[in-house]
Structure formats: structure tokens, C-alpha cells
């Protein structure tokens, strides 16, 4: 290393080419070792459940009196989202905002209680990385075998194994992308069209794009996504406090007074170690080897830790073998490890929980109490009003009636709030709305405003169902304008 002075104020450090590697940190490959245990089983269960739902749901058929027979279908062209018996129309998409509020509150609530639970158990990056790691392990063997293979010179065996791994990854990635596409069209038809080259272009583009991202993120980038790309790791940290249960290495138990030590002849038994002030951690490194992000949990809470809890399983395996008791690495809070009181439900968590319940109740209420028929009114503004031959004034309106039920609804249009006014919809006396159908009607209102009334006059359109059914009268506000209106 040498120094060069560029100007009075600026000096650069000159590096030799060997030192220049410092400029860019290249990724240290991570070869996570397999582990068995309670958390691993839990994670497999979550994975099977999540994959079961994701990969099978588009194939599930559903009986509807009208509309497609796919249980879950996001139909862009007809602007309807089908979720089992619930049909979400375009104007109800604000429910999505409600759903996102709930999702955010669940995240706040759970993260405050037990840290990055979402990252460790439910995030698709974690789930797909897990599956890709499983494929890698089945083809190439466990950690040591994989490390040896990575170091070994190019050979037929290496090419075959790496090739098979990447081939299987691409296959999974393809089916992942394709399954996503299936949610947006009739699945059994789309699969035929897709492989005969007749599917629409967006189907191929979406599939290929998601295939590429799945392959790159879960196969190649892996923990770098969590560490460098994902914002969650950064902002979840602010939801932690000293009472949040996170994956923690018990520093007091593990290190003792003199630190951790390997099992040696004089440090075989627990009482021997305690006498000499040595901690219970035997520095076997298993917790480091199983970590999918390649960190050492014994260094404390770190931004890279996704709390997958596999190090807990690893340490428990070793501790059980030694008979020293599980829990050297465990879910615990900072206050608990320091022997302080550490309540699970603090005011913050209770408040999050309450808001969460409120949000769920609000969304449920909104979905359950939606209008069976929507009536929206847009005034024709050019011309805003027309003078008629008998001296009356006419305003025109474009009405949009949407039947959200699965039954045909017959309605008549009426107005309320304009004494003596006449509504004219031409020859359409009764309006027949087919199930899940939309109609646009041009309505003309003729009225003789008296001179004393304010001439921008609010009134209501009423759509009145002819049969007595679950559909009630639908009312929508509108305004009648006349010459000289102040608006």
C-alpha cells in the first residue's frame, strides 16, 4: 500500500492489484448442512402447506350459477376477481387496501412478539430457497460433499451433478412461474394453449419472468436477497424491543467466565467445565454450518438472521447427545437472558393486536354488507342542461347498474327529491340485470324549476327491485342543474 497526494486536501490510497480485491466483496458461498429437529419439521410442514395451496389452488373447480368454474381466478378482462363464493368487482378493489392493512398489522404484531417469524417460516424467498437447497442436497450430497464438489476441478461427474441441479431448479422455477399464470386464466384450457403455442403473449412473458426471478433469487442469489435487497430486514428491526423473543445464543450459559471451549480430556463433563469457568458451548460449529445465511448466531442478533431457528435444532441435537439440556440457543428475549422481567404481551403488542382485530372486523363487515346492486351516476356535462319546448329544463345522466348477485334482478328507475320531475329512459321501462352483469343506461330528467329554488338541486336516483328479494332499493345521489345555477 502506498499513498499519493493529489492536491493539498485530497490524498488517495494506492493499492496493488492483490489488495484491490478489497474494493468489491465477492460472495462467500454458503453450503448449509442438513439438520433434524422440531423447527425443521415445523418449517417442512409450513412448506408443504404453502406449496399445496399455491400449486393446487388454480386447479380447484367451483360451482357457480354464473361465471367461470375456477375456485380462484383473477379475471382481468372482465375485471372480476373470483375467490370461491366471493366475487370482487373492480370498484371493490379497495378491499385489497384493507387486506394489506391487515397484513401489515399481522407483521407488526408478530414481529413485536417473536421477531422475524415471517422471514423465517413464511417468506417465499425462504420457502423456495429451502426447496432449492433440498434439490441441491439430493443431487450433490450434504455440506461436505457439496464443498468438495465446488472445489474439485471440472470433470464429467461435476458437470453432471451441477447440470442436474440447475436443470431441476429451472424445472421448479418454470412450474412456479406457470402456476402463477394459471391464476389469471382458466387453468385446464391455459395449460393446453400454453404447450401448443396458442396462449396469449402475457402468459408466456409472465411465466418466463417469474421463472427467471425464481431461478436467480432462490438458486443463485439466496441469502443476498435477504441481506442486501429486502427492505424487511431493515425495518423489522425497529419493531423489536428488549422483550421480543428472538433466536438467541445464551451467552452466560455458553461462554461461562472463560469463554467457550472444545471438548477436551479435562473438559468432558459439565461439572468439570463449571469448575474451570468454561461455558457449555463446545464450539462444534454445527449452528454455523446449518445457517442458510452463513452467520454465527453466537455473535448476537444480526441483520442477516432471518430467524429460521435451524441453529436451535442443531444446538439441541448436540446438547441432547451430551445430555446437558436443550436451549443453549433458543427463542428468548434480551431481558430474559439478563434475568429481568420480560412480559410477553406488552401494551404495544396488545395495541397492535387490537388494531389487527379492528381491521379484520372492518374488512369482514365491508365484504359481508356490500350492496348487491351498484348504481353509479355520472352527469352528462356537455350540455349540462337543455331547455325544452314546454319551458322545462332537461338534464341527462349516464347510469351504470351492476348486479353483483348470482340471480337475475328486475328493476325500475325512479327519482326522489325533485317535485313533479319526469324520468325518461326511452323504451326501457324495466331494467333486467343478468347475474353478475353490468348495464349502462342513459336517463333524462325533465323538470320545471320554480324561480325561488336554488338551481343546483340535489336529488336521488332510486333503483327499485320489482320482486321482493334480498336486494333492497339502491339509492345514489345526483344533482340537477338549471340555467343560472351557481355551482
Amino acid at each position: 500500500m502506498s499513498w499519493v497526494e493529489v492536491s493539498n486536501s485530497l490524498t488517495y490510497v494506492i493499492l496493488s492489484s492483490a489488495e484491490s480485491d478489497l474494493l468489491y466483496q465477492s460472495r462467500a458461498p454458503v453450503f448449509p448442512r442438513s439438520v433434524k429437529g422440531a423447527f425443521r419439521n415445523l418449517k417442512w410442514a409450513v412448506l408443504v402447506l404453502a406449496y399445496g395451496v399455491y400449486f393446487l389452488l388454480p386447479w380447484l373447480r367451483w360451482q357457480r350459477s354464473s361465471g367461470p368454474d375456477q375456485a380462484v381466478l383473477f379475471d382481468i378482462s372482465s375485471r372480476k376477481f373470483y375467490l370461491f363464493d366471493l366475487v370482487i368487482h373492480a370498484q371493490d378493489l379497495f378491499w385489497l387496501a384493507g387486506f394489506l392493512v391487515i397484513a401489515a398489522l399481522v407483521l407488526f404484531f408478530v414481529t413485536g412478539l417473536a421477531g422475524r417469524v415471517f422471514c423465517g417460516y413464511f417468506c417465499f424467498q425462504t420457502l423456495w430457497t429451502d426447496l432449492f437447497l433440498l434439490i441441491e442436497r439430493k443431487v450433490q450430497g450434504d455440506r461436505v460433499a457439496r464443498m468438495r464438489l465446488a472445489k474439485s476441478p471440472l470433470s464429467t461427474n461435476k458437470l453432471l451433478k451441477l447440470g442436474l441441479t440447475h436443470f431441476l431448479w429451472l424445472l421448479v422455477a418454470f412450474w412456479t412461474g406457470f402456476t402463477f399464470t394459471l391464476y389469471w386464466d382458466n387453468a385446464p384450457q391455459l395449460i393446453k394453449d400454453f404447450f401448443t403455442g396458442n396462449a396469449p403473449f402475457p402468459a408466456y412473458a409472465t411465466t418466463l419472468f417469474l421463472m427467471a426471478t425464481t431461478y436467480v433469487m432462490a438458486g443463485l442469489a439466496r441469502e443476498q436477497v435477504c441481506t442486501y435487497m429486502c427492505p424487511y430486514s431493515r425495518f423489522q428491526a425497529v419493531m423489536f424491543d428488549a422483550d421480543t423473543r428472538v433466536v438467541t445464543y445464551d451467552l452466560i450459559r455458553g461462554e461461562g467466565d472463560k469463554g467457550r471451549n472444545k471438548v477436551t480430556a479435562s473438559l468432558k463433563k459439565l461439572d468439570q467445565r463449571q469448575q474451570q469457568g468454561v461455558g457449555e458451548c463446545i464450539d462444534c460449529g454445527y449452528c454455523v454450518q446449518v445457517c442458510p445465511t452463513g452467520i454465527d448466531i453466537r455473535d448476537g442478533l444480526q441483520i442477516e438472521c432471518i430467524t429460521c431457528a435451524l441453529c436451535i435444532d442443531a444446538c439441541d441435537v448436540i446438547m441432547c447427545k451430551l445430555g446437558w439440556g436443550k436451549g443453549l440457543i433458543r427463542y428468548t428475549s434480551e431481558n430474559q437472558t439478563e434475568g429481568k422481567k420480560s412480559p410477553t404481551f406488552k401494551l404495544k403488542n396488545i395495541a397492535y393486536g387490537l388494531f389487527l382485530l379492528l381491521a379484520i372486523a372492518g374488512l369482514t363487515w365491508s365484504v359481508a354488507n356490500q350492496n348487491p346492486v351498484d348504481l353509479s351516476v355520472v352527469q352528462v356535462r356537455q350540455p349540462l342542461f337543455v331547455r325544452l319546448s314546454d319551458g322545462r329544463i332537461m338534464n341527462s345522466y349516464n347510469l351504470r347498474l351492476e348486479n353483483k348477485t348470482n340471480k337475475q334482478v328486475n328493476m325500475v328507475l325512479m327519482i326522489q327529491g325533485l317535485a313533479g320531475a319526469e324520468i325518461d329512459t326511452g323504451q326501457l321501462k324495466t331494467i333486467t340485470l343478468k347475474p353478475q352483469d353490468t348495464l349502462k343506461i342513459h336517463a333524462r330528467i325533465r323538470w320545471q324549476p320554480s324561480h325561488s329554488t336554488k338551481l343546483a338541486r340535489p336529488f336521488q336516483f332510486n333503483a327499485v327491485p320489482l320482486e321482493s328479494s334480498s336486494v333492497g332499493m339502491i339509492t345514489t345521489d345526483a344533482t340537477f342543474f338549471a340555467p343560472g345555477s351557481q355551482y
Partner: protein, 310 residues
């Protein structure tokens, strides 16, 4: 050279390793790897693009690209296949896209239906409305205005309930197909000033304006007599005549004299007198050669619906 420890916070750079004149070195600030790869990828993309799309100029021609032809119907109605270009792409889109095919379907449906069927079908009315708005904007709005309210004295208002030439769908279709010639002779010279004043008084009284009773009586005699002959077209009662496009003078709507806009009766009278003095000559062109029958049908339904028709 100064002490390394004091310099440890300075920016770190790499050199290319060469040294000139003993100590002149070149900094090496490599481009980020992702940028380099994006650059290579765009080079590969460009080469692929050259193969499939028009790209390189050769003399006064250019490479056309292969395996990327577009087939469309040209303005002579013949099928034409040519190399990729945005003009052909646009034409094909206008002829063969999902939206174009759907439009074709609906236009066919509407043009094969009777007016009674259309007026009773909310779906066909909706299609007529959305299709005709564009046709109206392209062909009619120049005179009648975008909201079809016209311009008083020049172009009739199509959004009210007053129809010079009839407001039934059949009448509107005839008007559109054959055009109309609206004519009223100028009476300046044919009638004297007093007579014209009297007729104006009579005409205003028809729609309920309060004017001098004597003038009304004199005006009525001119209006209904041979001298004025107004009743030939406007009818003895002044209620107009559809076959002549003569205005109904008894209602609240004025199509030529802007009576409603005038503040006092004197000015209203002036407006009516001006029309009697100078007459009216208005012409609407025939559209049968310029628009297809289907387009005229769509426009008919649209215009009929604006004011509710007759």
C-alpha cells in the same frame, strides 16, 4: 510520504499498475459488473433485433428483417403482407385485434336489428352510444358541437326535444342520409316595416309573450293572409311543418332568432324581425355516400337518445 495511520480515512483507489515518468500512475475505477453485463446484454439484443426488424440502411433501401411479416387488408380491400413496420402493425390492429373484432360483431348485430329492437335493448343502446360518440365527434361535431347543442341561428340543437324535420328514428335517418335544406325567404321589401313589426309581435305572442293587442291582430292578418303567407310553412297556428323543416313558433325553443337570450321585449322583437327581414338559408349535407348504413344507424340511435326523440 506521510504516516499511513493518519491517512487511513482517505478514499481508496486502485491503479492500472503502469507508471510513467517514474511516478505518474493511472487510477483504475472499474465499471460495476452489473453495468458491464447489461451492456453486453444490450449488444446481444441489438444483434437479434437486426435480424428480425428493419435496421440497416443499404443504399436507398434497408434491411427488412426476416420471419416477422405483417398481413393486413390495404385500402383497396386486398390482403397485403409486408415486413414489420408500425404503420402495418397499426392497420392490422385496427382490423384484427380483439377489440376490432368485437366492434365488428356488435356493429353487425346492431345493423341487422330493427330500430324497435335496438331501442328495447340496453346492450345495443350502450354499444350505439359508445360507437356513435366517436362518429359524431369526427363528422357532426364540427357544426353541431361536441354536446350536439349546435349554434343558434346556424346549426340546430340536437339535444333538446324540438325537431324541425321530425324526431322519430326514421326521420332522423332520412335527415342523415339525404341531408336537409332549410329555407325561409327574406320579407324585407315584400312586406313593409309596419307589417314586419306586426308579424314579429304576433309571432312572439304565440309563445306567450305579452305584446300590444292591436299589433297582434294586424300581424295575425298578415301571417295568415296571402300577403305574408307565413302559414304556408309555419301553419296557421304557427306550430310549424315537418315536411318543410319550418319551426314551431308556439313553444319555448327558438332555433334562429335568439329570443331567450334577450333581456327585454323590444330586443326580443328585434331578433324576430331580423329573421323575417333576412330569411333563413341552412343546409345540412347528405351523408349516405360518406358514412356506411351501419354508421348512419348508430348515429341515428345516438341522436335519437340525446333528447329522447319523438
Amino acid at each position: 510520504m506521510s504516516d499511513a495511520k493518519t491517512k487511513s480515512t482517505q478514499p481508496v483507489v486502485q491503479t492500472t499498475g503502469h507508471a510513467w515518468d517514474g511516478d505518474i500512475q493511472e487510477f483504475n475505477n472499474p465499471i460495476p459488473t452489473w453495468w458491464i453485463w447489461s451492456f453486453y446484454a444490450s449488444v446481444v439484443f441489438a444483434i437479434v433485433y437486426w435480424v428480425f426488424y428493419p435496421a440497416w440502411p443499404i443504399g436507398d433501401s434497408y434491411t427488412k428483417g426476416v420471419m416477422n411479416n405483417i398481413t393486413f387488408i390495404d385500402s383497396n380491400g386486398e390482403e397485403k403482407t409486408m415486413h414489420w413496420n408500425t404503420r402495418a402493425l397499426f392497420l392490422r390492429e385496427m382490423q384484427q385485434s380483439d377489440e376490432a373484432l368485437l366492434t365488428k360483431d356488435w356493429t353487425k348485430k346492431v345493423s341487422s336489428a330493427s330500430y324497435q329492437q335496438i331501442l328495447n335493448s340496453p346492450e345495443m343502446l350502450e354499444y350505439s352510444r359508445s360507437a356513435a360518440i366517436g362518429l359524431f365527434g369526427d363528422n357532426c361535431a364540427a357544426c353541431h358541437g361536441h354536446g350536439a347543442t349546435g349554434k343558434i341561428g346556424l346549426f340546430p340543437n340536437l339535444a333538446d326535444d324540438d325537431w324541425l324535420w321530425g324526431g322519430s328514428v326514421e326521420d332522423i335517418e332520412t335527415t342523415l342520409k339525404d341531408g336537409r335544406l332549410g329555407y325561409m325567404p327574406a320579407f324585407k321589401g315584400a312586406l313593409n316595416k309596419q307589417q314586419i313589426d306586426d308579424v314579429a309581435n304576433f309571432v312572439l305572442s304565440l309563445s306567450g309573450h305579452v305584446v300590444d293587442a292591436g299589433a297582434i291582430k294586424r300581424g295575425q292578418a298578415v301571417f295568415q293572409g296571402k300577403e305574408g303567407g307565413c302559414y304556408y310553412c309555419h301553419n296557421a297556428q304557427g306550430s310549424g311543418l315537418k315536411s318543410q323543416g319550418a319551426a314551431n313558433l308556439t313553444d319555448a325553443i327558438w332555433t334562429v332568432a335568439d329570443v331567450n337570450a334577450q333581456s327585454d321585449i323590444e330586443k326580443k322583437k328585434q331578433a324576430v324581425k331580423w329573421v323575417i327581414d333576412n330569411g333563413v338559408s341552412r343546409r345540412m349535407p347528405a351523408w349516405s355516400g360518406r358514412l356506411s348504413d351501419a354508421q348512419i344507424k348508430l348515429l341515428t340511435v345516438y341522436i335519437h337518445e340525446l333528447g329522447g326523440g319523438q
